[in-house]
């Protein structure tokens, strides 16, 4: 019997859902093994009953639950709890679900500031009141799903990778363990390390030095070339079976989308410490908090104190 699968999406762009689609051919095999019972992106499943007759939101029971997106509203919170109740195994899909993702950058300011900015101060917006009717109230900040309910497995990445999603689901269905790497992106990065000392950062637009067509293990570490790279503080795995990290393959430094290597890790502090040691003036780094926590702002970003 096919395993039942439920999927919910919260504060998210929908990219991780596309990733499921991107699994490609293996998806066909996978679909044979699962029965999708709830997935708003695919089907219009009414939460309050088909006629809206129920007082509480309800999701069908499932063996596997997927949640993409962080928690931004009271409704997300309730839905997450409902998913937890109904799903045997709950998976956080993508960095938004795992760490808050890009939406969690909003945690740099208070909800009130956020609303003011969006609905009042934005030049492209008419100065109206805040929306208030029929809309679930925003939470005080963006939460990772694991901050609200227990999560059994995290599949980080922005978006996460098709290979990982398929791998995780297959492992789950076949009763095999599935674990994330505890290594950093550098572990999989083939570039050459010569001398870290860097005093100035270069802009992304400038582009690194490399020989087109030559293997990446002949290119010098992008950080050593002056491009701020989050590799050392970012979990590896984006490269999948091929190994080489995704951004590096594109001659770009790691953005950190796979999030920190461990729950306890503090990528900003770790990177700032390392960068200042090799001689980089820490003041050079623009928008530190957002740069190092671009995908992991839930619980790591907070509004600057009022002085």
């Amino acid at each position: 019997m096919a395993a039942r699968l439920a999927e919910e999406w919260f504060a998210i762009c929908g990219g991780c859902e596309v990733t499921i689609l991107d699994i490609g051919e293996p998806l066909l095999d996978l679909l044979e093994k699962v029965q999708i019972v709830h997935m708003p992106v695919l089907m219009d499943h009414k939460l309050y009953g088909q006629t809206g007759e129920k007082a509480e939101m309800e999701i069908p029971e499932a063996e596997v639950g997927l949640i993409s997106g962080g928690i931004r509203s009271d409704e997300h919170k309730l839905l997450a709890q409902e998913m937890r109740r109904k799903c045997k195994t709950l998976i956080a899909l993508g960095s938004c679900a795992c760490y808050g993702g890009v939406p969690a950058l909003a945690n740099l300011c208070s909800t009130e500031e956020l609303l003011t900015k969006v609905y009042r101060e934005s030049v492209t917006t008419d100065r109206n009141g805040f929306p208030h009717e029929e809309i679930p109230a925003l939470t005080d900040r963006v939460y990772a799903v694991s901050e609200v309910v227990k999560i059994d497995l995290m599949l980080p990445g922005c978006p996460t990778t098709p290979e990982m999603v398929a791998g995780a689901l297959n492992a789950l269905l076949e009763g095999r363990p599935f674990t994330l790497s505890t290594k950093s992106v550098c572990d999989e990065c083939p570039t050459i390390r010569e001398k870290k000392a860097t005093s100035t950062l270069r802009r992304r637009l400038e582009g690194p030095t490399f020989t087109p067509g030559a293997p990446l293990n002949q290119m010098r570490c992008l950080m050593e070339q002056g491009f701020l790279c989050n590799g050392p503080a970012t979990r590896s795995g984006c490269g999948g079976s091929e190994g080489t990290p995704r951004c590096i393959r594109a001659y770009m430094p790691c953005e950190g989308c796979f999030g920190p290597i461990s729950e306890k890790a503090n990528p900003m502090v770790d990177m700032m410490g390392a960068l200042s040691t090799i001689g980089l003036d820490p003041k050079q780094i623009p928008d530190r908090a957002a740069t190092f926590n671009r995908f992991s702002g839930a619980g790591r970003l907070r509004p600057a104190p009022k002085r």
Partner: protein
């Protein structure tokens, strides 16, 4: 916490002191009987350059009201220039405190030589006063 307790705010202050100069200076403060507030807890490290920024940030986000990192004066480092590296990291730490919502006055880098016992006591006294004026850390529940 009652009103009386608030008035009697006794901050927890950590001092990370390098073995060769600052920890020796702290000992000299003792030998010279220079008095300073009892709020300071000194942790000995071999070099200020061995202090990972995480140690400071962790302390300040887990209940310390102030952290002071002490090393040898520039040029005096037992390990050539560990203190200068510490200074660069301290700059980074100061910047990051903002990001964590912590007043930057809660962290300080100071040079204390092995012969600066009175100076060590003075530093601790002033820093404790400063922290007392700031009040408890925002991370204290």
């Amino acid at each position: 916490m009652g009103l009386a307790a608030e008035q009697e705010f006794e901050p927890i202050i950590l001092a990370l002191a390098c073995n060769w100069c600052s920890y020796t200076g702290a000992d000299l403060a003792g030998i010279s009987r220079c008095q300073y507030p009892a709020n300071v807890r000194i942790i000995r490290v071999m070099c200020s350059g061995m202090v990972h920024p995480n140690l400071v940030i962790d302390a300040l986000t887990k209940g310390a009201d102030g952290v002071v990192m002490c090393g040898c004066h520039p040029g005096d480092c037992h390990y050539q220039d560990g203190n200068l590296k510490a200074a660069r990291r301290a700059e980074a730490i100061t910047l990051m405190l903002q990001d964590f919502g912590i007043e930057e006055e809660r962290f300080k880098l100071a040079w204390v030589s092995a012969s600066e016992g009175p100076q060590f006591a003075k530093l601790m006294t002033e820093f404790t006063d400063q922290i007392k004026r700031l009040g408890p850390s925002p991370y204290k529940s």
